[in-house]
């Protein structure tokens, strides 16, 4: 894997067009992106390599995003991951809940692409050796 940029950031999003949008937005910031479409998919990616940052949609076809957050925060190997929750739902108190279980940030769709890029970028580490 020849990666020149920062990150990588794991984007977990089931909506294909939105996945593509998040990927493009981050790649313009020279952030490397790995994508997953479901919780199971995300777990496979994390099992092989733990990303420093995860952008996580909360409504996924195989479960609720915050359940995955709880699991990741309970495992010492994945607990340091910075998790940015990203949701299209407007549910009262969901942000509080997300932060309580360990999300560092909570973003609602539609995203402001510039702010989103700088927000995620602020957590993405510079490439090793630079």
């Amino acid at each position: 894997m020849a990666r020149a940029g920062r990150g990588p950031v794991l984007v977990v999003e089931d909506h294909p067009v939105n996945r593509m949008l998040l990927q493009r937005v981050l790649e313009f910031e020279q952030i490397d992106v790995v994508c997953a479409e479901s919780i199971a998919d995300a777990k496979r990616v994390i099992a092989s390599s733990v990303p420093p940052v995860i952008v996580l949609d909360l409504q996924l076809p195989d479960g609720y995003g915050l359940d995955l957050v709880r699991e990741l925060k309970a495992d010492p190997r994945t607990a340091p991951c910075v998790i940015v929750a990203c949701t299209a739902r407007r549910v009262p108190d969901e942000e509080r809940l997300a932060r309580t279980v360990g999300c560092a940030e909570f973003v609602t769709k539609p995203i402001d692409t510039r702010r989103f890029a700088s927000l995620v970028g602020s957590y993405a580490p510079a490439p090793v050796g630079s």
Binding site: H15, N18, V25, R89, R90, V107, P110, I111, R115
Partner: protein
């Protein structure tokens, strides 16, 4: 029919009492105690009979009322579940529409940034229309969702110790970009109101709805003033503008759902003021408008806000929550407690620094 029967009963009773009284009086005058006693006895018997009749009628009526009450409760239940179904539907619709809208807004932003390729002015203008229209749809969804939730009784108020002046300045800052684009000056006159107990998110929503309404109708170069002060045991929020004003018949309807002034900008959802009214009323407050056509309008809301017995507000107000700040993040630094208070001189709002961490 029923009413007449009651009247008749009363009339007969009065007649009876008078007759018995007269007989007793005459009998006493004639020193005939036996006749007087019989007359009194007869009178008592008559009164007892009337009471019995009234009692029977009362019981029958109570029974009738009871079954009417049951029917009413059943219909109420039906209405409540229908309202909740509507609220759920709107919530699902809002979620489903937000995903494609996210893509529309996001990709237009990416293209406008010029990173995908060079654009000429025409293309940039068209992209900005696409993005603006999509954002308008999002605002409409937000308002519809709010309205449905409040109607279904799902408005959750979270009264916390809040510094109203801080919320006022933060709210004004978040409309600074829109105001600057129209060269409108936004003044904030937030008098020290102490730390009060109310829901800061809802306060922010009321202020923002009034501000965006004012900005929409104020012509370029105009002025919008936000005033927040304590009044009675609550908080009075006033937003004045130098817009065209509202004719008296329209003033009565301005808080109705989907009511829009004819001949003016129709870019809003037509729901913002209706939502504001419901939010204020849900917490026991009220809203209103004063306006002289041709001389601007002042929208006001009064919200109950008892003084909080705490030395300082706990958490800073989280920015965002509405479309004005699509990407929300909590600020890790606290604002200085009274930085927002400028009682003597109005403060012109400045855009909040969101870049700094």
């Amino acid at each position: 029919m029923r009413k007449f029967a009651w009247k008749r009963t009363v009339l007969v009773s009065m007649l009876g009492v008078t007759t018995v009284g007269t007989i007793v009086g005459l009998a006493l005058l004639a020193k005939s105690h036996v006749v007087a006693a019989f007359a009194l006895l007869g009178g008592f018997a008559a009164v007892a009979a009337i009471c019995l009749i009234l009692l029977v009628r009362l019981i029958a009526r109570t029974d009738h009322l009871g079954s009417a009450n049951q029917e009413l409760a059943r219909r109420n239940q039906e209405l409540q579940s229908a309202t909740e179904a509507k609220s759920r539907f709107v919530a699902n619709l809002s979620h489903e529409l937000r995903n494609p809208l996210n893509a529309v807004i996001g990709f237009s932003e990416l293209m406008s940034s010029g990173r995908v390729g060079p654009l000429d002015d025409r293309q940039r203008e068209h992209l900005s229309i696409i993005r603006g229209s999509a954002q308008h749809l999002v605002a409409l969804l937000d308002d519809a969702l709010d309205l449905a939730r409040i109607e279904a009784g799902h408005v959750r108020l979270d009264p916390t110790p809040t510094e109203p002046a801080t919320v006022a300045v933060a709210s004004a800052s978040s409309v600074a970009t829109v105001a600057a684009a129209k060269l409108i000056r936004v003044d904030v006159d937030a008098r020290p109101a102490g730390v009060v107990l109310l829901d800061p998110g809802r306060l922010r929503q009321v202020i923002l709805n009034f501000l965006s309404n004012a900005l929409k109708f104020t012509p370029d170069g105009g002025q919008v003033t936000l005033r927040v002060q304590r009044e009675r045991d609550g908080l009075l929020i006033e937003v004045s503008d130098t817009g065209p004003g509202i004719e008296p018949p329209d003033q009565d309807r301005i808080f109705e759902e989907f009511f829009q002034l004819s001949g003016l900008d129709r870019s809003g959802s037509g729901l913002g003021l209706a939502v504001t009214k419901l939010i204020a009323e849900a917490q026991g407050g009220q809203v209103g408008v004063r306006s002289i056509p041709g001389h601007g309008s002042t929208f006001y809301a009064w919200l109950p806000a008892p003084l909080a017995n705490v030395p300082c507000p706990p958490a800073p107000v989280t920015p965002g929550g509405r479309s004005a700040a699509a990407v929300t993040r909590s600020s890790k630094t606290r604002r200085p407690l009274l930085a927002a208070r400028k009682p003597d001189k109005p403060t012109t709002s400045r855009p909040r620094d969101l870049a700094g961490r």
